[in-house]
Symmetry: C2
Subunit: 232 residues, 2 copies
Amino acid sequence: MKKDYKVIGFDADDTLWVNEPYFRSSEHAFCSLMSIFMEPALVQRVLFRIEVKNMPLYGYGVKALMLSMMEAAIEVSRDQLTGDMMKQIIALGKDQLNKEVVLLEGVKEVLDRMKHKGQKVVVITKGDLLDQERKLAKSGLDNCFHHVEIMSEKHESDYTKLLEHLEVEANDFLMIGNSIKSDILPVLNIGGYGIHIPFHETWEFEKIDLKVDHPHFMEINHVSELHQLLGL
Amino acid sequence: MKKDYKVIGFDADDTLWVNEPYFRSSEHAFCSLMSIFMEPALVQRVLFRIEVKNMPLYGYGVKALMLSMMEAAIEVSRDQLTGDMMKQIIALGKDQLNKEVVLLEGVKEVLDRMKHKGQKVVVITKGDLLDQERKLAKSGLDNCFHHVEIMSEKHESDYTKLLEHLEVEANDFLMIGNSIKSDILPVLNIGGYGIHIPFHETWEFEKIDLKVDHPHFMEINHVSELHQLLGL
């Protein structure tokens, strides 16, 4: 791994700030709400199946989750859903959209040091446009970044297009994130560098059973290890 | 109005392709579905009130409409909503997301001529990220544009940020669109040029009661008038 990169990309959700636990918490509340009809663990399986089915149409994010919850509720309740339950599902989603943004420990210091060093830093995230913009504004980090790219997907072609747009070669680009599948593998595949910082919760959909062994790849346990690794 | 601009921006929905009639059609179907509880015209008012209330949280787009329809249905039905009605609301939204993209007459020719002339053209649209990307891909127009910018809002500051990003002065920028409120006024206010092409349907939220009289502004009836205006 080299120390100097023209551009460093950060994933946002569960790399800069807490996200997945809020999704887990909404799902948990949903499964409890539906537990009068079905075992919570089974409800969760129905929800996950519907989320994955709807993914190509709805994409990622809280609104997509809300709509899939509605669909799961209809199925699980066998049409016995009440208006009050629907209200609770809507309230769950709205609460999640209104959640405070909690930065992960050490993130602010790393970004401050990068800024002080003149490092070009971009946020590269997928998800709902408005929701991600709102989180960025709430995070107070928005002046740490040269550019913010909110993508509908993080495939190789999406990274290639972004690097062209940023006018940087893959070999001068490092991506840092918590998802091997979305933040690391596609970047390694196009010739870039990747640092994985695992987060304690990973969405089923992002899980991947693969041990990465690549000269452009490293895994660290805490974002503050970047200080030494990148000479910050 | 001058003829030459470094960058020309096009709005997408109801400027390049048909959009608003699909929203009207979904709303109409929703109001019919709810007509066993309330007069369709009153249902529509409830829906509009809820859409506007939810706008800051949900933003624009079909998923936002679906969620607001759910909320309106709960209110209108006074909790007498059935699972079957909910299924129909979800189906309405999914149908709309899967609609074909129908280009407005003359659009393809104008864009081809601009491309042939070497004109830098960008799409500037608000709405749901995935939904707008999908429409652009379906439209077959994606190779006509130098850049695609999907914004959560079209305020002056959003245009200013985009023009900085594109490294163009407002004075060298022309925006073409069907919404005076979103496509024209903010651009005129920052010193750019605007051409308004009215579409036969305008969403209540985009309506504005204002006669624009500005040296940087023109209104035309058909996109093909651009050939002569811009020397294409």
